[in-house]
């Protein structure tokens, strides 16, 4: 029998899990990553990973996890696969535990669980406040073991440029660039799994890492891979503003008892700590008595915007509210939240154990992503699979905290064997499709050459900053149609200006500017998909909020947005959502659901 070969692009949680599964099936894997996989963005996940293990005897079940996830996502997710994920979650925790993840423990030596947003159960396993890092390392170690036994070949320091497609529209491999030598090369594979993560850079500043540009997703989109629900962008309620990055302050701070408040008196100049209890406005607790500080992220974010922009109650008139953990015992803070408190202390020079933290919402996550079928993570292009944040199917219109890690590992775990099965059933492998590789390589080399040699007047970083400002102002928390329309046309203007960019680095060795310029074009195209999708969806659902259409509209909009690239333009189609398991009901968090 012919030995198939699989390529995985992206070495975060989803990519590593897919890699392990393919290696276990005895199929060789080439794993591509921009950074050494141990430095992937999954390290930034802080609070934990959800699984209904019912370790606290509260009567939690996978069915309740499923219901919370669907309800939290405002019924936009296709339900069958979400159900499978929630059922698989306890087994995923067991697996991570066996891999040696240093989860926090109870006195009995069992895993400890904490509360998170959008649920009333203790369902979140955690390793301090650096759970993503710990999970990523566990999978990284397993992949290193497979690598040392020659089942995995890592290609770190390579960036994906495009898929190699044959004339029948089947993916036969990838074209990638070595970020040191800038060499462009093609690699044949029977199937490719994309696990390329988030898109934060499209919004300029976000909680995401530098590599989260969405460039790979966008490149695939422009090659005919559909993109779904792009307009659903999660803005996390609590982050520390910064010029380079908006640093996340995990929901776990609230899961452990942290409280969000502002002074009742507008413009109160007193230090937070000295403001008496009676003069503090715990607005989430007052507005949402049942869930309090643990309402889902879209709700908390909108509440903070209302406090700051409508009620004018931001701290000292600024765009900030307090996230307060000073009332919690030091021992609890150090054992359960140290990782994030350390970030606050290091970057702001203030000890959050002593002073309430100042936070504000920040772009955090994309619920939308590469369209995949509801079955096995396959995209609409034969030979291309997707898993993790880069695909769309688990979180509907809003993701619950601590569900991303589980969806990455579950999705990667499904994609790996599915790609192997597909590859084994292929009649004709990648090796037989010859000239398409030289053709694709040439196309990409020409693109690079054009960028390096052109003498334009535009600065790519300036264009990127403008893009970030447009997206953050108009395509995050509150969306207004005329602004969305104007933003969409401004992004098209930026694409026009992009054609005239001038690279300040024309060398052929470790040219980070060339790589950035490649990513920028893709970011601009994906920004259009997001903005146009938001413009067209005239309702409010989960993270997508339009004051002009304040209600969820199931009659017209209980639909997945599916974007296609047709004749160099975006074409949106809509398909029904599979609600076969839980009938949609109104979503409200001020009372028990």
């Amino acid at each position: 029998m012919r030995q198939p070969k699989i390529i995985i692009v992206g070495g975060g949680l989803a990519g590593l899990m897919a890699t392990i599964r393919v290696a276990e099936a005895g199929v060789p894997v080439d794993l591509f990553s921009i950074v050494p996989v141990k430095r992937s963005h999954s390290v930034c996940a802080q609070g934990g990973i959800n699984a209904a293990k019912n370790q606290k005897g509260e009567g939690d079940t996978p069915q309740k996890h499923f219901d919370d996830t669907i309800y939290g996502g405002d019924f936009l997710a296709n339900q069958p696969l979400v159900k499978r994920m929630c059922e698989a979650a306890p087994g995923i925790i067991d697996l991570l535990d066996r891999m040696g993840v240093m989860f926090n423990r109870t006195p009995e030596g069992l895993l400890d669980y904490r509360r998170f947003g959008g649920t009333l159960y203790h369902r979140t396993a955690f390793a301090g406040a650096t759970t993503g890092q710990q999970l990523l390392y566990a999978l990284d170690e397993q992949v290193r073991r497979h690598e040392s036994e020659d089942r995995v070949t890592k290609r770190e320091g390579w960036t994906f440029l495009s898929a190699v497609m044959d004339d029948a529209g089947v993916c036969r491999g990838i074209c990638a660039m070595d970020l040191r030598s800038m060499e462009v090369k093609t690699f044949a594979a029977d199937a490719v799994i994309f696990c390329t993560g988030g898109i934060g850079a499209i919004f300029g500043r976000s909680t995401n890492s530098v590599v989260c540009t969405g460039s790979a997703q966008s490149a695939l989109f422009q090659q005919g891979v559909d993109y779904a629900n792009g307009e659903f962008i999660q803005v996390h309620p609590t982050a520390i503003p910064g010029e380079d990055k908006l640093r996340l302050m995990s929901e776990s701070a609230r899961g452990e008892g942290g409280r969000v408040w502002v002074p009742r008196k507008p413009g109160d100049k007193r230090p937070g700590k000295s403001i008496p209890e009676a003069e503090r406005f715990y607005f989430l607790e007052e507005w949402y008595p049942k869930y309090g500080n643990l309402v889902p992220r879209d709700i908390a974010t909108r509440a903070i915007h209302r406090i700051v922009y409508q009620e004018k109650l931001g701290i000292d008139g600024q765009a900030a509210v307090y996230l307060d953990v000073t009332h919690l015992p030091r021992e609890v803070l150090d054992r359960k939240l140290e990782g994030i408190l350390e970030i606050y202390e290091k970057f702001l020079g203030v000890d959050p154990r002593e002073q309430p933290m100042k936070v504000f919402p920040a772009m955090h996550y994309t619920m939308g992503g590469i369209w995949v079928n509801g079955e096995d993570q396959a995209t609409n292009v034969p030979g291309i699979y997707a898993a993790g944040e880069c695909e769309y199917q688990y979180h509907g219109a809003n993701r619950l905290g601590a569900n991303s890690l589980v969806s990455c590992i579950f999705g990667g775990g499904v994609a790996g064997p599915a790609a192997v099965k597909y590859a084994r059933n292929l009649e004709r492998g990648a090796e037989s499709a010859d000239s398409i590789f030289t053709r694709e390589q040439k196309r990409q080399e020409e693109k690079n050459q054009a960028l390096i040699s052109q003498q334009g007047s535009e600065n790519p970083i300036t264009i990127w900053k403008e893009l970030g400002e447009i997206m953050t102002e108009h395509v995050t928390v509150t969306r207004i149609n005329k602004n969305l329309e104007a933003s969409h046309s401004r992004i098209q203007d930026l694409l026009g200006r992009y054609k005239r960019i001038n690279l300040s680095d024309r060398t052929h060795w470790s040219n980070q500017m060339l790589n950035f310029a490649r990513e920028l074009e893709n970011m601009l195209v994906l920004a259009r998909v997001i903005t146009y999708g938001a413009f067209c969806r005239n309702e409010s659902r989960g993270a997508h909020y339009k004051p002009e259409f304040p209600e969820r509209d199931d009659a017209n909009w209980l639909k997945t947005t599916r974007a296609k690239w047709v004749n160099n333009d975006i074409q949106l189609t809509y398909e029904p959502v599979d609600v076969s398991q839980i009938p949609p009901r109104p979503r409200r968090y001020d009372a028990a659901k």
């Binding site: 067991d94 697996l95 423990r105 990055k245 020079g349 680095d505």
Partner: protein, 252 residues
């Protein structure tokens, strides 16, 4: 003059176009504003690639990713000290701020270095728990909270390489793997399943570049951005190695 008075930050960067080229210094002036860190300075230089003297130059090549000191990418020498660029706040640094690549790793370009040596070492010492497979085999072993509390800090190592940079034993004459690696061996040997294979890991740290080469300078623990008790790890692995060597000799 203080920074606030001049409203400018001066940054000197050691540049090297490729591994084959020789290095040179360039100086940049950046408008001061609150909460600057070294990464923001490098980004500013990328957008306006002009030296202090007004000469056009290329953006500076450097590694970065998470910008919150958890990915380990942006280690470099800042005013001669090995540390992470993202958490190096300009207002806490003496000027001019000198940026150099880590010196114990091959330079790729400018501030970018190749730290593959560390990942290879992790392979050499088998820094993993050898599970039977990812299929469902039930829960992992129970672990006492005290053990978790000792192990978790070790598992926060970000492989930045700062502990190798400051170690006198990491030099061109030997292959000393560095404190981070031995600390990982300690971590895996602590885990109930990992302990079943402790011998293999100790075997791997007994050869060339292994634990014997530690000269106890104790610089590593001071340079670790995650405050990992590296000297404790070195002592513990040294103890385990002696024990294994002694038993090996006794049972000969």
């Amino acid at each position: 003059m203080s920074v606030a008075e001049t409203k400018q930050v001066t940054v000197r960067v050691k540049r090297q176009a490729s591994p084959k080229d020789s290095s040179r210094w360039e100086e940049f002036a950046i408008p001061w504003r609150p909460s600057l860190n070294v990464i923001i300075c490098l980004r500013e230089i990328a957008e306006k690639s002009v030296t202090r003297e007004g000469r056009p130059t290329t953006p500076i090549s450097y590694d970065s990713n998470c910008l919150e000191e958890v990915c380990g990418s942006c280690a470099m020498l800042i005013n001669g000290k090995a540390r992470m660029a993202c958490s190096a706040l300009v207002d806490q640094l003496e000027q001019p701020i000198r940026l150099e690549p880590l010196s114990k790793f091959p330079v790729v370009r400018d501030l970018t270095v190749d730290r593959q040596f560390m990942f290879n070492s992790l392979k050499r010492v088998k820094a993993w728990i050898p599970i039977d497979g990812t299929y469902n085999l039930g829960e992992g072993p129970r672990i006492a909270p005290e053990v978790q509390e000792k192990a978790y800090p070790l598992s926060r190592c970000i492989t930045c390489g700062n502990c190798l940079e400051v170690c006198p034993q990491v030099n061109e004459h030997n292959n000393f793997m560095g404190a981070a690696i031995f600390s990982q061996v300690r971590l895996f040997n602590m885990h109930p399943t990992g302990a079943m294979h402790a011998k293999e890991r100790i075997q791997a740290v007994m050869g060339r570049g292994g634990i014997e080469d530690c000269a106890n300078a104790q610089n590593c623990v001071k340079a670790c951005p995650k405050e990992i008790p590296l000297t404790e790890s070195l002592a513990e692995i040294n103890r385990q190695a002696w024990k294994q060597a002694l038993f090996g000799w006794l049972l000969g």
